[in-house]
């Protein structure tokens, strides 16, 4: 435990006033811990890591860590990250974004970043709700789910983030949960290390907003739900069609090895120089 604390402290900003903005029981801190462990494990210098965040609870996490941190506006973290990566491909650009940020207001940027295969890592912290604004439904709120703006149940279907990223052409697509931390750590590490556009969907509980409206009043209820409903992709595929309802598979869904846009751009410049 002491070692873990020491590691985390090495990466936290000492001049930033605490406490942080996240609720007790929130899963976002686990994701931040996973990111810190991954960066440490990969031996990346702090100066080379750029953390770009959008708006919402996930957006507020960047400020606490001692990397280059950019808190962008709602939905626009991915374009800003694209600009940073293209301007300086040596930087490791990681985006923290939420379900509302990445899929609703920033949905267009999300699919286009996957299509152009820009070499950034996008971590979508999916808590099925707009947490910071007070519990309004998001584009991942399950059908029938309750929120302050769907008091009679969500009528619309929700996005499957993995399918969307895969269809748009992402290099690496994975889903993890904050309950299954060991596999999460492994996937986050891979998502940071690999070239091209890497997308990680991370399921994280929000008992404060989603739970209280959907019969998971305590954080423990939410983690229990995660434990019993999220299954490894291998096991999920073995399940009969009827048993799959309500289950969420996690693991790595797509692994392609195409070079990122910034690499291909550098090659273009080099070839133009040669012909000149």
């Amino acid at each position: 435990m002491a070692q873990v604390t020491q590691l985390i402290h090495h990466y936290l900003r000492h001049n930033k006033k605490f406490p942080h903005v996240l609720c007790p029981g929130c899963g976002h801190g686990i994701v931040l811990g996973s990111l810190i462990r991954s960066v440490h494990c990969l031996g990346l210098p702090k100066d080379d890591v750029v953390l770009v965040a959008g708006i919402g609870c996930s957006g507020r996490m960047a400020v606490y860590v001692d990397f280059n941190t950019v808190h962008a506006v709602h939905g626009r973290a991915i374009p800003v990250a694209t600009g940073i990566k293209m301007a300086n491909p040596k930087l490791k650009v990681i985006v923290f974004t939420g379900d509302g940020d990445a899929l609703s207001i920033g949905g267009n940027h999300f699919i286009h970043a996957a299509r152009r295969n820009i070499g950034i890592t996008v971590m979508v912290l999916n808590n099925f709700i707009y947490g910071m604004t007070g519990g309004q439904c998001s584009s991942t709120t399950p059908e029938g789910g309750f929120s302050t703006t769907t008091p009679y149940g969500q009528m619309e279907k929700s996005f499957d983030l993995v399918d969307m990223a895969r269809a748009a052409g992402a290099n690496f697509v994975a889903r993890g949960t904050v309950f299954h931390v060991r596999s999460l750590d492994k996937m986050v590490r891979t998502a940071i290390e690999r070239p091209g556009f890497n997308m990680m969907e991370i399921l994280t509980p929000c008992h404060t907003q989603f739970g209280r409206k959907n019969k998971y009043r305590s954080p423990v209820d939410m983690y229990k739900w995660m434990k019993s409903n999220c299954v490894k992709i291998g096991q999920y595929e073995k399940l009969k069609e009827a048993d799959r309802t309500g289950k969420i598979p996690y693991g790595v869904f797509v692994e392609r090895d195409e070079p990122g846009l910034e690499e291909r751009y550098e090659a273009l410049r080099a070839s133009l120089r040669e012909t000149a």
Binding site: K17, A62, V63, T69, H71, P79, T82, G83, A87, L91
Partner: protein, 383 residues
Amino acid sequence: MSAKRKTKHKEFFGLGAEAVAEGALLAGCTFYAGYPITPSSEIMEGMAARLPKTETGVFLQMEDEIASLGAVIGASLAGRKAMTATSGPGFSLMQELLGYACMIEAPLVIVNVMRGGPSTGLPTSPAQADVQQARWGTHGDHSVIVLSASDTQECLEMAVTAFNFAERYRTPVMLLIDEVTAHTREKIVVPNPSELEIYTRLQPSMPPEWYKPFQETVRGVPPMPPLGSGYRYHVTGLTHDDQGFPTAVPQEVVACIERQHRKIDQFFYDIQITDGYLTDDAEVVVVAYGSVARSGQLAVDQAREKGVKAGLLKLKTLFPYPRTATERLAPHCRTIIVPEMNMGQMSREVKRVNMGQFRVRTINRIDGKIITPSQILTSIMKG
């Protein structure tokens, strides 16, 4: 931008839009992200052809104008001189991130080739209807620099100036040109790089542990290191303290916003650029900008031939409004005429600083046609 010594210059016959691209490259722009829109696309096409041929140049066509400005902001943070170009509807989309750029003090240039509006309006016709939007379009109190160009050569010069101001004051700078100026083909003289004064943003000289990204300085402009250079700091659109961390402490909020205004306001004398033509003894002065200023100049010449003491004050800086240039007209001037291709946007500024000293008459045209010299002449002859 007068030549310091006699040298052979590169010349070409090109569009105002091409001149903007030429000027941007001369100023050191290495990053362009944009989205096609009439009548500004020629700037984008110029950059698409030329940037990949440079050492580090990056050109990106993004999914919309919001993403375009987002990428430009990211590139600016990473140390690049970056720009985008757009027109009315695209400029509306950029307003959100424009405010972000003001708040995080990101140097960048936005060129807006103005067309008729509102909405889709008159995509292929000239207008000057985005002037007040450039100043006040994004929400919240903010201070910005807005420039304008009236002919092809000026497009090149003002593109250089736009980058210089952006870098010097750490702020987004907007260059407003109208469709006529962007699509007029004329001789363009490209100055030698050695003849130009080019500014690049201030870099910190202190060790990283002493660096405060939004610290108060004498000029009000804090140094700005590129991401990844060892100066790790936080950037946020939230009101922040000098460390860049979000704050709601009243004194810190005031300090944050006031400095952002002061850094531009206190260098007003450096920022305001105007050209006076026969204004020294003028009794009737045409105050104009963009292609209208060219009609204005001809009208002034014709009026002088008829014995009327007319002059032209051409605005190259639109905001902060060049108030001293207008005030200097006071001893002789009786009437100011403000012709513009809108319902009267700059004339509001003229009336505001005028405070009853002169008669202010407007000529407004919104039919997608340019304001002709004869229209202005008729107004001048009324005295």
